[in-house]
């Protein structure tokens, strides 16, 4: 009896498996392309894209494609690679997705995005599109993800907090000023420990590097190189002696401590100015309060100073945008994609201080303010993370966040750097 039951169970399990895998294979074949009205889902990440741009996208799309609807679903930067890996390979994939420029390679190399043909590329902007970001979205000579916007970090400050202190002109002065200004109630530089983007300029300015590829293709990580260590020492000095931010915190809601008046310098993406300059009592019930009447009033920007003056080499933050390979309606997705890269849409992004996907629209970024000027200076000297499809794994393993949290907690820089280099090399060379 018992044996019979087992055999029966096993038999049905096997039958089912076969039946199901058969279904699976059938589902893999390309479905006939639909036409007519449909639904398109666009995934934008974080709050960087302003509401005006979202409204414009939805309105224009629905005008151009009568009967079709476009839904924007906002995703979080946290755990984005995990989420896209499953979402984009499933049957319910979104149609158009924004992806961090340093994360794009993980997906372009694995066929997650629909190819942008040479003709489409020309129509969408061609050589006008930001070259560095186009490259980030290429794989084996083909285009998969095009630039969405770029935005380098700007150092914000308010004269009300800074007082008579001189604005630093070199990186060393920046470190010293931060340490001098710090009290129990004031951060010279507000720097949550997990914010590794802000750490990269210190590495680069001191002659260090993240990882370089040798001629035989192997990667060599450089946090423990001479320049890298010098940079990490400076980072630790600021983090431990010039900063009250928690060593294990992420760089979210940076306007909160700034608006409390507890921050002298805040290095953050340029669109943060709108969060700081938001009214204390937001009209929208879900809105985030800022401090437009106090510290937002005289908000100034500064490009992070370099080792020898001028603007430092900073991390080229920004996003790419792509059409999902599994999009049910590639035709409608392309229509939304064209709007996202249109001059009108990109001008809205430029209007809030982001650098648009097209170089010809750079002039639309307001550079009359010190913030706009600083953003432009920083962008001109921006650098990317190593161009390896495996770099996204370094990010998703949060190796850098952890390493910088430990540096912020005051642990030995050399030990951390050597461990970090070993871990990065293991991933990039695997």
């Amino acid at each position: 009896m018992n044996k019979n039951r087992l055999v029966g169970a096993a038999a049905s399990a096997i039958t089912l498996t076969l039946a199901l895998s058969a279904c699976g294979n059938a589902g893999g074949a390309a479905a006939p392309e639909e036409t007519g009205p449909g639904e398109v889902r666009v995934w934008l990440v974080g709050t960087d894209t302003p509401p005006e741009a979202r409204d414009y996208l939805k309105k224009t799309f629905e005008e151009e494609n009568p009967g079709s609807t476009l839904t924007i679903e906002e995703q979080a930067w946290d755990g984005l690679v995990d989420k896209y890996t499953t979402a984009l390979s499933g049957s319910d994939a979104p149609d158009v997705v924004e992806i961090g420029n340093t994360q794009a390679a993980a997906f372009t190399s694995a066929g997650y995005f629909r190819e942008i043909t040479a003709d489409e590329f020309e129509t969408l902007g061609g050589s006008d599109l930001l070259p560095g970001f186009v490259e980030a979205g290429d794989w084996e000579g083909k285009h998969y993800a095009l630039p969405y916007y770029s935005g380098s970090r700007v150092v914000f400050y308010s004269k009300q907090v800074l007082g008579d202190t001189a604005v630093p002109t070199t990186l060393d002065e920046y470190v010293d000023t931060a340490v001098d200004l710090k009290t129990d109630d004031l951060s010279g530089v507000y720097w949550p420990g997990q914010d590794w983007y802000n750490a990269l300029p210190f590495i680069w300015e001191n002659g260090g590097y993240i990882a370089e590829q040798a001629e035989d293709g192997t990667w060599d990580a450089g946090f423990s190189s001479e320049g890298g260590l010098a940079g990490l020492e400076q980072i630790q000095t600021i983090m431990t002696k010039g900063n009250n931010a928690p060593s294990d915190a992420q760089e979210t809601d940076l306007q909160v401590p700034f608006c409390e008046g507890k921050v002298a310098f805040l290095s953050a993406p340029s669109w943060i100015q709108w969060s700081i300059n938001a009214p204390e009592k937001p009209e929208d019930p879900d809105g985030v309060p800022g401090c437009a009447s106090t510290y937002g009033k005289d908000l100034e920007g500064l490009a992070l100073p370099g080792k020898d003056g001028g603007a430092a080499q900073v991390f080229a933050g920004g996003s790419n945008i792509a059409i999902a390979q599994k999009s049910a309606r590639p035709d409608l997705a392309m229509s939304a994609y064209e709007i996202l890269l249109s001059d009108e849409y990109q001008s809205i992004l430029a209007g809030i201080g982001l650098f648009p996907a097209k170089t010809s629209l750079f002039e639309k970024v307001d550079q009359s303010t010190s913030i706009g000027k600083a953003a432009a200076e920083a962008a001109a000297n921006a650098k990317l993370t190593p161009a390896s499809p495996k770099w996204a794994d370094v990010e998703s393993k949060t190796l850098l966040q952890t390493a910088f949290s430990r540096i912020a907690a005051g642990e030995d820089v050399k030990t951390i750097a050597e461990k970090l280099d070993a871990d990065i090399e293991e991933i990039l060379n695997s």
Binding site: A9, A13, K397
Partner: protein, 315 residues
């Protein structure tokens, strides 16, 4: 399926008995369950085993044919001392601590509930139920806030009590205090079930036995050790085995706390490690192989429990 039922209405009961037909009906009734189990458990399991013998990365997920690699994935894992073995050992140590603390505390609470009056017992029960009903994701988030580096109530209290400056002290960055917090959350969530079950068992012990022991001069601890504990021994065994399985499978609490600010590499337990290898880094083949090894480990742990249950059924 339903049409078969309609076409051939079940014959009256007596007829079945006379004819002694093979029992189709039980099988028919079972079939729905078996289909569900097959789809929800069987298929993923088969897929897991298949994938563990393949090189399965992000590209394969998009339809690129997967290459068979034999035992390569297993070899890579079993020789990975810094990765797999460390994580497995960590999970086991954590599991032992969690199980011991949970069972001891659960037993103490159960004994407490035996002693206190009706009103207090109700209060304790409600408290336990609330903790038990709380989803672990929500619970972990709130515990994370308690220990928040900047605004957490724990750092605030410590500053008030000791007079030192605790603001900015990160509880999660140090693996040891990370696991102390994990232990708090898991034990807090697991004690109610253990306490209720043990309480139910303890109340079934005949009053006379305890009374007789009391008359013979047995102390409270002797009564517990020599009478109450042997009576509920089988319950304790079941609770220990179940707790072992639950605590080895630990995922939510560790994953959420890591997100708030822990060192992933030094705090990952086996469940989180599988997720990171598979979902986050896209090495599905390797992650599947770890999963298979983990299933085998779990089966070995569950075996005594299953055997015991089966033996009791036979009696």
């Amino acid at each position: 399926m339903s049409s078969t039922l309609l076409d051939a209405p079940a014959p009256p009961r007596q007829e079945i008995r006379r004819k002694r037909r093979p029992p189709y009906l039980p099988w028919l009734l079972l079939s729905a369950t078996m289909v569900l189990l097959g789809v929800l458990t069987g298929f993923p399991l088969v897929r897991l085993v298949v994938m563990s013998f393949q090189e399965y990365e992000r590209a394969q997920l998009m339809g690129l044919p997967a290459e068979w690699v034999g035992f390569d994935n297993y070899a890579a894992i079993l020789t990975d001392v810094d990765g797999f073995w460390t994580v497995l050992a960590r999970s086991f140590v954590l599991m032992v601590v969690l199980v011991v603390v949970t069972i001891v505390l659960g037993m103490l609470v159960a004994l407490l509930m035996m002693r206190v009056g009706k009103a207090m017992r109700l209060l304790v029960s409600v408290g336990l139920l609330l903790a038990w009903a709380m989803p672990s994701l929500a619970a972990t988030t709130v515990w994370g806030w308690l220990f928040d580096t900047q605004y957490g109530v724990v750092n605030n209290l410590l500053t008030k009590i000791t007079g030192d400056r605790w603001f900015g002290y990160s509880w999660l960055l140090d693996p040891l205090s990370f696991f102390v917090i994990v232990t708090c959350i898991v034990v807090w969530g697991a004690v109610p079930f253990v306490a209720f079950t043990l309480y139910a068992g303890l109340t079934q012990i005949p009053e006379e036995v305890i009374e007789a022991a009391q008359l013979d001069g047995a102390s409270a601890f002797q009564r517990f050790r020599l009478i109450q504990l042997p009576y509920v021994r089988s319950i304790v065994t079941v609770l220990v085995v179940l707790s072992m399985i639950w605590d080895l499978k630990l995922f939510t609490q560790v994953f959420v706390l890591q997100d708030i600010g822990g060192d992933r590499e030094l705090t990952s337990t086996i469940g989180v490690y599988i997720y990171q290898t598979g979902m986050a880094q896209g090495h599905y083949g390797v992650a599947s192989a770890i999963g298979v090894i983990f299933v085998i480990v779990m089966l070995a742990i569950a075996y005594p429990y299953v055997r015991r249950t089966l033996r009791e059924e036979e009696l």
